[in-house]
């Protein structure tokens, strides 16, 4: 009997521990960060633009844009200043009544001036603190990050979500990279490699539309170590991705083999790359081999291309187009002395004995490096149409 009552008491006491966690976070006490913009002001202070979710509005309103009977915008923007990121986030509590919650944040945009002054000081907070995710996407704004975060979006109720989707959709053209914090960390930690991030810019829309300006992906921001040095346009960005073997899909437009005035579209199906470092008389020489498979995606001419000769010619043109993109990226990277292609790491892997000597002066070595580009491009299929709809008879 005594034991039973003791057990009963124990159950009663233990039930008090089941009420929940020590520092619980209820949704209605949190301000969920959707996107974060980091700008550097002229006086060296950090300006944070925080896009915060209004969960009530998101749930209540039908899927409409604002002004059409919906409950207004689903997010609001807090702008705070501070000497460091952490201080700025703490300063936000003077205007945000709820606790800032960074775990759901998948978009971080860094302003151009902040990027020029160096990434690593800005990101230490992200690597140290336990809440932000390593899988968040990171961008560089052309101009101020504040404007990007402030911009609205036609499609998505939460503009931050739209930016995240842009990063995921970048593989359709492969004209901008998709970079998460984890990827960035890995390139920042390397002694020889340089980093790159996708760029965002605000583009004016035609008059009369509900939203004046919208956010668009624009090429790649190139960093020397962790400082912004310049931008790659779409073509150069893809050149970079070719070498890294990160091209997933995309479109190559070449001139038609039979009719120079018309365009033929080749769709990239898959691509891979191989980097072979060599030392010739102590001088580094790199061979980049890119293997690509494409389909005939579209053609504007009325010439029947479905014969082996034309396909072979298309393959040559495709290889030429890829080579041109790679060379554009290579020459710019060598001019700036930024090893975006992880060539240094490849030398470390293949020539561990010579590497310490090379590493000392890697920037010069990279600038003067001879890079051979070899393309193996194939055109495999032609879709469901074997001939254009008004095919001309080939004149023999």
């Amino acid at each position: 009997m005594k034991k039973r009552s003791l057990n009963f008491m124990l159950c009663l006491v233990l039930s008090f521990t089941l009420t929940g966690c020590w520092n619980r976070n209820e949704l209605n006490t949190l301000a969920v960060i959707q996107a974060l913009g980091i700008d550097m002001m002229e006086d060296g202070q950090i300006n944070l633009t925080i896009q915060l979710l209004k969960p009530g509005v998101l749930q209540g309103a039908p899927a409409q844009t604002k002004g059409e009977g919906g409950g207004g915008p689903c997010v609001w923007i807090a702008t705070v200043k501070g000497k460091t990121i952490t201080e700025a986030i703490r300063n936000a509590t003077t205007q945000v009544d709820r606790r800032l919650f960074a775990s759901q944040n998948k978009v971080v945009v860094i302003g151009e001036t902040a990027a020029q002054s160096g990434l690593s000081p800005l990101l230490d907070y992200y690597f140290r603190y336990n809440k932000p995710r390593e899988l968040a996407y990171i961008f560089v704004a052309k101009g101020k990050a504040e404007d990007i975060i402030n911009a609205e979006n036609e499609q998505e109720k939460v503009p931050g979500k739209a930016i995240e989707n842009l990063a995921k959709a970048s593989l359709n053209t492969s004209k901008a990279p998709e970079v998460t914090f984890h990827d960035l960390q890995r390139s920042l930690v390397s002694k020889t490699s340089s980093s790159f991030l996708p760029g965002l810019e605000l583009v004016k829309r035609p008059a009369g539309t509900t939203i004046e300006k919208q956010v668009e992906l624009c090429g790649t921001a190139i960093f020397k170590k962790d400082k912004l040095v310049g931008w790659f346009d779409g073509k150069e960005s893809r050149g970079l991705l070719w070498v890294l073997g990160k091209v997933k899909s995309g479109i190559l437009v070449v001139k038609s083999p039979e009719d120079e005035s018309q365009k033929v579209v080749l769709e990239i199906i898959r691509a891979s790359s191989k980097i072979t470092p060599e030392l010739i008389d102590g001088k580094p020489t790199v061979t980049v081999e890119v293997k690509e498979e494409g389909n005939l995606g579209e053609q504007m001419s009325s010439v029947d291309l479905s014969n082996p000769d034309a396909f072979r010619e298309l393959e040559d043109k495709q290889a030429e187009a890829i080579k041109e993109e790679i060379n554009a990226a290579l020459s710019k990277a060598q001019e700036w002395g930024v090893d975006l292609f992880k060539f240094g790491t490849e030398y470390h892997r293949k020539f561990p004995a010579e590497y310490p000597e090379l590493e000392k002066n890697w920037e010069e070595e990279f600038k003067n490096m001879v890079v051979n580009v070899e393309i193996d491009a194939k055109v495999l299929r032609e879709g469901q149409a074997s001939k254009p709809i008004r095919a001309e008879k080939k004149t023999e």
Binding site: C21, N130, R133, L135, R186, V189, S190, K350
Partner: protein
């Protein structure tokens, strides 16, 4: 007789496995041991022979005194100095238990719940461990049998989910510094494995004493195999530079898991096995401490010692280091391994030498 229970060789091996591998799923100091580069995953296999060498004194001592625990034969060998040596070992194990609990709460306050007082984690774990210790060695053995498979499945499952993120190129250049540094890489995990003393203490409770050799041979193999899995996945997912930067590299790669858009944020699995494993580890260390005091002072039961010792353990966690940096510096390869080596290699070897010279134990007959 302080302890009437018996455990099997398998339970003993799993007890060692849980106690050691659970620590490696957060901190992995082997990454920082020389050569501290991408070759650690292969160099660490050198730990297996080093384990066997370190186990030799314990093995021969156990052969000479099959019915006695480490504390008991220490007294039989050294005579009057025996109790003092025993107390030294109790204090050493107390220190290690304090370090274990500090590590347990530091992980929580750093990575999971920064605002909860660390004393809360320490007290709750010590209380549960005290309950397990109260029920003796058989309960510990069965606990290890229950929890070890959970830990194995969780680790292997997590690593399989990460296969997509692994980049085998991170492991090249292969053996950059040659084979020589692997001796140091091998020393690092062995130095941390104070569980070898705990095994020597509970060896007389083995239900089949002929299996002593089996414990000493297979436990290191299992440990090094899992150390290899952890190191390999961390190096291939993070690369050696980044893996060294992180305080808790395995926790960070668990955070990186994303399969499609639905299977992510599964670090709670890591936290769950961390609590389960730390419970077994703490209980095991707690048990050998109170058993040691019981055997040194020839008490009839160690049970009255459990709660007072629990209070000492909880109190000691607060005194071990002024902050986490000092704590980690102590646990680093350069300091901690030499500290433990004194207890797991130096003293046992001297004991064995003394036993041979003074013709103590069964072999002398």
């Amino acid at each position: 007789m302080l302890e009437g229970g018996k455990i099997s060789a398998r339970q003993m091996i799993l007890l060692v496995f849980v106690s050691r591998v659970i620590y490696w799923i957060t901190s992995l100091p082997v990454l920082l041991a020389p050569p501290a580069n991408q070759d650690v995953w292969i160099d660490l296999w050198m730990a297996v022979p080093i384990y066997w060498i370190v186990a030799l004194p314990f093995y021969f001592l156990a052969k000479r005194f099959p019915q006695q625990s480490f504390y008991e034969y220490t007294q039989a060998i050294t005579g009057k100095a025996g109790p003092w040596l025993g107390i030294l070992y109790v204090l050493f194990l107390l220190h290690i238990t304090g370090l274990t609990l500090t590590n347990f709460s530091e992980f929580f306050t750093t990575a999971v719940m920064p605002e909860t007082p660390s004393l809360f984690f320490v007290i709750s774990l010590t209380l549960i461990a005290a309950y397990a210790v109260y029920h003796g060695i058989e309960v510990l053995g069965r606990l290890s049998e229950l929890i070890a498979p959970i830990i194995m499945i969780a680790i292997i499952g997590v690593v399989l989910l990460l296969v997509n993120d692994m980049n085998l190129q991170e492991l090249t250049p292969f053996l950059e510094k040659g084979i020589y540094p692997s001796i140091f890489t091998g020393l690092s995990p062995v130095g941390q494995t104070i569980e070898i003393i705990e095994v020597a203490i509970i060896l007389p409770f083995l239900n089949d004493l002929r299996k002593t050799k089996k414990v000493f041979i297979y436990a290191p193999l299992l440990l090094v195999f899992f150390l290899f899995i952890l190191t390999f996945s961390e190096l291939t997912v993070l690369g050696d530079d980044l893996a060294k930067t992180y305080t808790y590299p395995f926790y960070n790669i668990v955070r990186l898991i994303h399969v499609g858009d639905f299977l992510e944020r599964i670090e709670v699995i890591h936290v769950t096995i961390w609590i389960l494993g730390m419970f077994v580890k703490t209980a095991f260390q707690y048990y050998v401490i109170v058993l040691g005091i019981g055997q040194l002072f020839h008490l009839k039961s160690y049970k009255p010692l459990i709660l007072p010792m629990g209070i000492i353990i909880v109190a000691s966690t607060n005194m071990l280091g002024s902050n986490v940096v000092a704590f980690r510096e102590f646990l680093s390869f350069e300091i901690y391994d030499w500290y433990t080596m004194f207890f797991i290699l130096f003293i046992p070897s001297l004991l064995l030498l003394t036993a041979v010279l003074r013709k103590k134990g069964e072999y002398s007959k």
